[in-house]
């Protein structure tokens, strides 16, 4: 089985560990890989997590990606957008998101590229990033680790706060884990520097340094732990039987 393990499966498994010690927090994985990863966390390292159906209801069992028979969902509670705000302002959530840019301070951007008054590329808008990053723990998944995503200097529009904030003395961000197509990182280096925790198979430290627009710390250059047989089975059979994950890296 190990020979055929794909990059998306390595990323999903590495990302799932983000929620390991979160108890009953609401796990929100936004995007394919984070969503499958949250489901894997609930089926392996943390069954106590709360999770939604991607819309309005809390479900007891992670849902498979793609079309499903929704009448089989085991619904355990209600989570409207209004309630999501209440939950997140109270710090009761750990989200995994994919910003368009991230910088050495951990600041993230999903708003626009270029000058905000007349953007070169308009993206989504800051959406919930300002509230998320000041209120609760977040992890990050970046499928295209490069100097365009890990930018030199600061991101074009700071949507999620980083560790350099001059304000909000009572609230520091908590960026827990950063998983990319090249490796696994956190922001627990000296003075909240991004630090490497492990490298995916076939990737070198040079690849990572070249593709990051700022200096990083190297805590470990060991290879990222590969999915176990159980994790692979859950990803392939329970969480993503239709293989939607393959689209992320064109597998």
């Amino acid at each position: 089985m190990a020979d055929s393990i794909s990059l998306s499966e390595i990323c999903i498994t590495a990302a799932s560990k983000a929620w390991k010690d979160d108890g009953e927090l609401l796990a929100t994985g936004i995007g394919l890989i984070p969503r499958i990863a949250a489901g894997l966390a609930k089926l392996t390292c943390n069954p106590d997590l709360m999770m939604t159906d991607g819309e309005t209801f809390l479900i007891s069992k992670p849902l498979p990606m793609g079309k499903r028979d929704a009448s089989e969902d085991l619904i355990e509670g209600y989570m409207s957008y209004s309630r999501v705000f209440e939950n997140l302002w109270g710090g009761q959530r750990h989200a995994m998101v994919t910003p368009t840019q991230i910088d050495s301070f951990g600041q993230t951007n999903i708003s626009c590229i270029g000058d905000h008054s007349n953007p070169k590329v308009q993206l989504l808008g800051v959406r919930g990033f300002p509230g998320n990053f000041i209120s609760h723990r977040n992890s990050i998944f970046i499928p295209n680790h490069s100097i365009k995503t890990f930018v030199e200097g600061e991101v074009d529009m700071v949507s999620g706060m980083g560790y350099n904030s001059q304000h909000a003395l009572a609230s520091k961000p908590d960026i827990f884990l950063v998983v990319t197509n090249l490796g696994v990182f956190d922001f627990n280096g000296p003075d909240h520097q991004l630090q490497l925790l492990s490298i995916h198979p076939g990737v070198s430290i040079e690849d990572i340094i070249e593709n990051t627009g700022f200096n990083i710390a190297i805590k470990s250059d060991e290879e990222t732990t590969l999915p176990s047989d159980e994790e692979l089975k859950l990803i392939r059979e329970a969480l993503d039987p239709m293989g939607t994950r393959k689209i992320i890296f064109g597998e």
Binding site: C112, P119, Q122, S159
Partner: protein, 289 residues
């Protein structure tokens, strides 16, 4: 009491420069028939407050928007709205870009007749840098913490789409998530709703139906009957969003004339026929996320 109005009656009660809040969320339960009616009108220089979807895109395409107060503009399955992007990238829009929770906080402040509500949200981000009108406030209590004073978003008008209403404006929203329509209604001087179905009060379903009444009728100025009125956005549980139409709409950013002629220069009744008829709209399956 009878609050039933036509689309053109509603438009005649709006005026240039108004601040208009639009209910729904992204590509979900947007009062699109009223938005199309605004596009057909001479109204201009509007300030729009929205959890944005194709409502914002269409109004941008028609240059109705002077200022947009928003947290995002998205069509859900299609992450970005091409018309809104074009307006932004051409530098046509004045914007107040906020965290989506700050939008709610601003509406809630207006709803409670407060000038602001405190929050930590916004600190450490460019939301404060780009909106210098947002001030800070220090807690008067022992903690002395500094907060963002999110100003009230007072609306002249709120436009909402609901599943059912009677003539008095007793509305019901059956979708599992009512979004922030209640806050829009409370933040506005006047609220106009379009409704999938207009019934006698006896047809509202008694106690069981009343649970879906998300805000009281005293907030509602006018009710327009608009079956399929949210199309191409969704209106759970009646219908899902029309992906094919949203794709056509998105592609129309390149040449808007054809789309405009086909879908916007006609009455709502004709629009529903052109997009496939009421039965077609009511059969669009609800999306799975």
């Amino acid at each position: 009491m009878n609050k039933i109005l036509s689309h053109s009656d509603v438009i005649s009660q709006l005026s240039d420069g108004m601040t208009i809040g639009v209910g729904g969320w992204g590509a979900r339960r947007k009062p699109m028939s009223l938005i199309r009616a605004i596009c057909q009108s001479d109204l201009k220089d509007l300030t729009i407050v929205s959890y944005g979807g194709p409502d914002v895109g269409l109004l941008c395409a028609h240059r109705k928007v002077k200022k947009l107060i928003f947290g995002f503009v998205s069509l859900d399955m299609i992450p970005l709205d091409s018309h809104f992007r074009q307006a932004r990238q051409n530098g046509e829009l004045e914007v107040m870009e906020l965290d989506e929770g700050m939008v709610q906080w601003g509406l809630r402040a207006a709803a409670m007749k407060l000038s602001f509500l405190p929050t930590r949200v916004g600190f450490g981000t460019d939301v404060l840098k780009n909106n210098p009108e947002i001030k800070l406030i220090t807690s008067p209590y022992a903690d002395g913490e500094q907060y963002v004073a999110m100003p009230a978003l007072n609306l002249d008008v709120a436009l909402l789409h609901v599943n059912k209403s009677d003539q008095k404006g007793n509305t019901q929203i059956f979708g599992p998530d009512p979004f922030f329509d209640e806050m829009f209604a409370r933040a506005a001087k006047k609220t106009y709703v379009s409704a999938e179905e207009v019934v006698e009060t006896e047809g509202l379903g008694g106690k069981e139906g009343a649970i879906f009444n998300r805000f009281e009728r005293s907030l509602v100025t006018g009710v327009t009957h608009a079956p399929g009125g949210a199309h191409p956005t969704s209106c759970a549980p009646n219908y899902g969003f029309d992906m094919e139409h949203l794709k056509t709409y998105s592609a129309a950013a390149k040449s808007f004339e054809d789309y405009n002629d086909k879908y916007l220069n006609i009455s709502h009744t004709d629009y529903i026929e052109v997009v496939g008829g009421e039965a077609f709209v009511n059969n669009i399956p609800l999306p799975q996320f």
